[in-house]
C-alpha cells in the first residue's frame, strides 16, 4: 500500500487510528498486537503472497533470537547462530535481489543465449532484513534484550517504516512500546503527525512527481539529448530523488507520531552539505549509521587489530601517513561504499555509484587530514561564506555526477548523459522540449532546497523526532516555525486537498525498488 493512495489515506489510516484508540483502552499488548496486524495488512495489500516472505523472515529471525538469548534452551554457540542467521538473511536477499539480475548480466556479457526472468522483489526486503540482522548482532553482543513475539513483530513490521525505512534500531523503537504510558491517541501528537505527513506529501506529490516526467524522459533517451536538456533532466532527478525519499520519510515520521512514536531522522538537508562526509551525515542517515555501525566500524576494527598484530601503529597520526591512510581509511571506506553501492542493485551503474562515493569520501578524508596536519586557520567573514558556497556547489556537483549513474539503466547510459552534460558529441542530439519553463521550475525547487528550512527544523519546537541533527539546530536566516494555529492548519489542509487531487495516478516511491 502506498502512503500516497486513496485507500491508505481514506480507509487504512483512519481505520487503523480508530481501532488503535479502541484497543488502547484495554492493554498495551492489545496496541502492539493491533499495530502488528495492521502492518501486515498494509504490507500484504499489494501482493499478499509476499506476506509469506515477510512472515518466514520474521519467524526465522525470531527463532534465532530465542536460541541466542537461550529463551529456547540450547547449547549451540551464539556465534554460530548469529552467522547462520546472517547467512540466511543475506541468502534470501541475494536470491530475490541479485541472483537473476546477475545471471542475466553474465548471460548478456558472455553471450550464453539464455534469459532468466527476474523474480519480483518483495517490497522493503532490504529494510526488514537489515533491521533484523542488527537486532540479532546486538542481541548476541548483549546490547539488546529478547522480546516477546508480538513486540518483535511490531518492531520489524510497524507500517510507517516497513517498506523504505527509516531503518529502525531496536533501542530507538522498542522502549517506546514498552513504556508505562497512556497509549491512546493524543491531539498533540495527531496535530504534529498530520502536519509532518502533509509536509511529506507536499514534497512527494507536489514537487517530486512534477519533476519525474522530465527526469524519466531524459534518462530514457540513451544520451540523445542536448546539453541543456541533459542538465535539466539530471538535476530534475537529483531533486526528485531527494524530495521523493525525504517526503516518504517525513510521511513515515508523521505517521509514527500520530501513534505517539518518535522515529529517528533520515534526512537533514543533504544538499546543503559542504563536503561529502557531511553529505552522508545528512542523507539517508539511518542507513549511513547502520553501515557505519555494522560494516565500516567492524571492518576498521579488524584492520586495526591486524595492524597491531603486525606491530604497526593505529593512532590518528598513523592515519596521516600514506600507508596508514590507505590501510585504515581508504580501504574500509572503499569497501563499505562498494557494498553500499551494490546494495542498491545488481548493475554496474550502482557499483560505479558506490565507488564514486568511496573515492569522494577518501579524498575528503585525505583533505581533512592534510588540513589538520597543516593546522590551517579557518577563514573568517565574507571569504568563509564565499568558500562555503563553493564547497556546497562542488559537493552538489559530485553528488549529481554519481546520481547520474545511479538513475541510468546501465553504465553506458550514464556515461552518454555525462558526455552531453560536458558538451561532448552535443551536435547529434535531438530537440526534446523548451528548456526555459523547466529551468524556472528547477530554480524554484533549488530555492526550497537551499534557502528554506527543512521539515524537522520547521517542527523543531515540537520535538518532531528522536533527535535533531546538529545542522538542524543551527540558527537560520529564514525562521519558519510550525505552530498549531489557523494559518498552518488551513495551509497544510490545502496541501492535503491538492495532494488528493493529484493522487488519481499515484506514483510509487523511488526507494521502494531497493
Amino acid at each position: 500500500m502506498l502512503f500516497n493512495s486513496y485507500v491508505f489515506l481514506l480507509c487504512f489510516l483512519p481505520g487503523t487510528l480508530l481501532i488503535y484508540q479502541l484497543v488502547s483502552r484495554f492493554h498495551r499488548k492489545a496496541v502492539v498486537v493491533w499495530l502488528g496486524i495492521a502492518s501486515l495488512i498494509f504490507y500484504g495489500y499489494w501482493r499478499p503472497q509476499f506476506l509469506f516472505v515477510l512472515g518466514a523472515s520474521i519467524l526465522f529471525n525470531y527463532l534465532i533470537s530465542c536460541l541466542i538469548s537461550r529463551k529456547i534452551p540450547n547449547a549451540i554457540s551464539t556465534h554460530l547462530l548469529l552467522w547462520t542467521a546472517i547467512a540466511g538473511n543475506l541468502g534470501a536477499l541475494c536470491w530475490f535481489k541479485y541472483l537473476f539480475p546477475l545471471l542475466n548480466f553474465f548471460n548478456n556479457h558472455l553471450h550464453l543465449g539464455r534469459h532468466w526472468t527476474d523474480v519480483l522483489l518483495p517490497l522493503g526486503i532490504s529494510f526488514f532484513t537489515f533491521t533484523q540482522i542488527a537486532y540479532l548482532v546486538d542481541l548476541q553482543q548483549g546490547v539488546a534484550t529478547q522480546q516477546d513475539f508480538f513486540s518483535y513483530l511490531l518492531f520489524v513490521t510497524f507500517f510507517p517504516h516497513l517498506i523504505a525505512g527509516p531503518i529502525l534500531h531496536h533501542q530507538d523503537i522498542m522502549p517506546q512500546f514498552q513504556q508505562d504510558r497512556d497509549y491512546g491517541l493524543h491531539w498533540n501528537d495527531l496535530a504534529v503527525g498530520f502536519s509532518w505527513f502533509a509536509m511529506g506529501m507536499f514534497k512527494k506529490v507536489i514537487i517530486a512527481d512534477k519533476l519525474a516526467p522530465t527526469a524519466d524522459l531524459i534518462f530514457s533517451m540513451h544520451g540523445q539529448v542536448r546539453p541543456v536538456e541533459a542538465w535539466v533532466g539530471v538535476i530534475s532527478y537529483v531533486f526528485q530523488l531527494y524530495f521523493d525519499f525525504s517526503g516518504y520519510c517525513d510521511m513515515a515520521c508523521g505517521l509514527a507520531r500520530m501513534f505517539s512514536i518518535d522515529f529517528p531522522l533520515n534526512f537533514s538537508s543533504p544538499y546543503k552539505s559542504a563536503s561529502i562526509i557531511e553529505f552522508w551525515q545528512r542523507w539517508h542517515m539511518t542507513l549511513s549509521q547502520y553501515i557505519n555501525s555494522y560494516l565500516y566500524s567492524p571492518m576498521q576494527f579488524m584492520i586495526s587489530a591486524s595492524r597491531q598484530k603486525n606491530g604497526k601503529k593505529v593512532s590518528r597520526k598513523a592515519q596521516g601517513t600514506p600507508e596508514g591512510f590507505l590501510h585504515m581509511v581508504a580501504l574500509p571506506t572503499m569497501l563499505t561504499m562498494f557494498i553500499a553501492g551494490i546494495w542498491h542493485g545488481a548493475g554496474l551503474q550502482f557499483l560505479i555509484f558506490g565507488l564514486l562515493h568511496g573515492s569522494y569520501l577518501t579524498v575528503n578524508h585525505a583533505w581533512r587530514i592534510y588540513r589538520s596536519q597543516r593546522k590551517t586557520e579557518p577563514l573568517q567573514g565574507i571569504a568563509s561564506h564565499f568558500f562555503h558556497v563553493g564547497w556546497v556547489a562542488l559537493t552538489f556537483l559530485c553528488v549529481t555526477v554519481s546520481l547520474t549513474f545511479f538513475r541510468s539503466s546501465g553504465l553506458h547510459e550514464g556515461v552518454w548523459l555525462l558526455e552531453r552534460m560536458a558538451f561532448v558529441h552535443a551536435a547529434h542530439a535531438n530537440y526534446l522540449f523548451p528548456a526555459r519553463p523547466k529551468v524556472f521550475l528547477l530554480i524554484g525547487v533549488a530555492a526550497i532546497v537551499w534557502f528554506f528550512p527543512n521539515t524537522q527544523q520547521v517542527l523543531a519546537r515540537y520535538k518532531p523526532a528522536l533527535q535533531l541533527a546538529p545542522a538542524d539546530q543551527e540558527r537560520r536566516w529564514l525562521p519558519i516555525f510550525w505552530a498549531p494555529n489557523l494559518a498552518w492548519g488551513l495551509g497544510l489542509g490545502a496541501v492535503i486537498l491538492a495532494a488528493l487531487v493529484n493522487l488519481q495516478n499515484p506514483s510509487s516511491f523511488l526507494y521502494f525498488q531497493f
Binding site: 491531539w187 498533540n188 495527531l190 496535530a191 505517539s260 520535538k463 498552518w488 490545502a494 486537498l497
Partner: protein
C-alpha cells in the same frame, strides 16, 4: 506542566491546554479538505456556478437536459460519432422533419446509459424513429475501458434528480467518491482557465457540435487492436427492443469509418443478433486524427450527414410502407 507553545517532550505530554489546541488545529487542518471535497457537488448543482464548472465534453452533453418540449420526429442517440458527425439542422432541412441528437460520448454512456433518452421521452412526444448510432467498435456501452468517464459522472452530478443520483451512486460508488478529485483535475473555467481558454468550442445546435480538431488522419492510418476487436452488441440490442413501440421505430446505424489499411477486418465483421448495415468507408483525410478514428473533420460533416440522410430516409420509407 506543558502548554501548547512549549516543546512537547517524549513521552508526549497530554495536558488539557495542549490537547485542546491540538484538537482545534486538527479541525482547521480538516476544514479545507472537507469543504474542498464537498464544494464540487455544490458548485455543479448551483445554477450561477454551473457555467464555470463545466468541462468541454460536459458543455455539449448539457444539451441533452434542455430538450423538454422540443418534440422531434427523428432522434439520434449514440456515442460521440453521432454528436460530431450528423448535422441535425441540415438533416432536418433535407428530411423536412425535426431531427435532434441527444449528445453522449462513449465515456458518458458508460455511466449514464440511456438516462438522457429516458429523460427526453418522459418530457416529449414519442418520435417516429430513434437511430442508435455508434462507431462499429462502440457497440458495448458498458465496457470498462471507456476513456473519459468523468463526463458521465459530471452529467449525473449536474442534472440527475435525487432518485437518479442515488441509483447511480449505488451502482457506481467509486465514480461519485472520486468525483471531486476529478473535478479539480479537469479543465473548466473555474479550475483551469488557461487550459479552458485553449479549447476549441463550437456552438451546439440541435445536439450537434462539430469537432474543431484541425489535424486529419494520414492515408497510412491503421485501426488499433482495441477497435478491431468485436465487442458485445448487447447494449445496442437492448436499447433497440426497449424503445421500439407501435409509434416509434428503432434502428442501429454504424458511423462512417476511415479507409485505413486494415479496414477490411472491420468490414468483414458480423454482428451477432443485430441487424445492421456495414459502415460506409470514407477517405482517412476527412477524419480527425484522434484516438476514436471516427470523428469527421468539420468540413466533411455535410458528407457524413448526407450518408446518414440516405440511411434515415430509407428507414422512414420502410416504416411508411409497413404501416397499414
Amino acid at each position: 506542566m506543558n502548554t501548547a507553545t512549549e516543546p512537547i517532550h517524549a513521552p508526549h505530554a497530554t495536558s488539557r491546554l495542549a490537547e485542546r489546541k491540538g484538537f482545534r488545529f486538527i479541525c482547521y487542518y480538516m476544514l479545507l479538505p472537507i469543504v474542498g471535497y464537498l464544494f464540487p457537488f455544490f458548485a455543479e448543482r448551483f445554477p450561477p456556478l454551473q457555467p464555470y464548472c463545466v468541462t468541454y465534453g460536459g458543455s455539449i452533453l448539457d444539451h441533452a437536459h434542455g430538450l423538454a418540449g422540443q418534440d422531434a420526429d427523428v432522434i439520434f442517440f449514440g456515442d460521440s460519432t453521432a454528436m460530431f458527425g450528423v448535422d441535425t439542422e441540415r438533416l432536418s432541412r433535407k428530411l423536412g422533419l425535426k431531427v435532434l441528437n441527444i449528445p453522449n460520448t462513449l465515456g458518458s454512456l458508460a455511466n449514464t446509459g440511456d438516462w438522457t433518452l429516458r429523460e427526453y421521452l418522459d418530457g416529449n412526444k414519442p418520435p417516429r424513429l430513434i437511430v442508435f448510432q455508434t462507431a462499429p467498435w462502440n457497440l458495448d456501452f458498458h465496457q470498462t475501458a471507456n476513456p473519459g468517464p468523468y463526463e458521465g459522472d459530471e452529467e449525473i452530478v449536474r442534472h440527475a434528480d435525487p432518485r437518479e443520483f442515488f441509483r447511480f451512486t449505488g451502482a457506481h460508488p467509486l465514480e461519485i467518491f472520486y468525483f471531486p478529485f476529478r473535478f479539480y483535475a479537469s479543465p473548466t473555467p473555474l479550475t483551469n482557465l488557461r487550459a479552458w481558454g485553449k479549447l476549441n468550442l463550437a456552438p451546439v445546435v440541435q445536439g450537434f457540435s462539430p469537432n474543431l480538431n484541425p489535424v486529419s488522419l494520414q492515408p497510412s492510418c491503421t485501426f488499433p487492436d482495441i477497435e478491431l476487436h468485436l465487442q458485445a452488441t448487447g447494449s445496442v440490442r437492448e436499447l433497440l427492443s426497449k424503445y421500439r413501440t407501435s409509434k416509434t421505430m428503432t434502428v442501429s446505424y454504424l458511423s462512417p469509418i476511415p479507409n485505413c489499411t486494415n479496414v477490411d477486418q472491420i468490414l468483414a465483421r458480423h454482428y451477432p443478433g443485430l441487424t445492421v448495415a456495414p459502415p460506409v468507408v470514407v477517405p482517412p483525410q476527412d477524419i480527425v486524427a484522434d484516438f476514436t478514428h471516427a470523428h469527421p473533420m468539420r468540413a466533411y460533416v455535410p458528407v457524413t450527414t448526407d450518408i446518414a440522410y440516405d440511411f434515415v430516409r430509407r428507414q422512414l420509407l420502410r416504416g411508411s410502407a409497413a404501416e397499414p
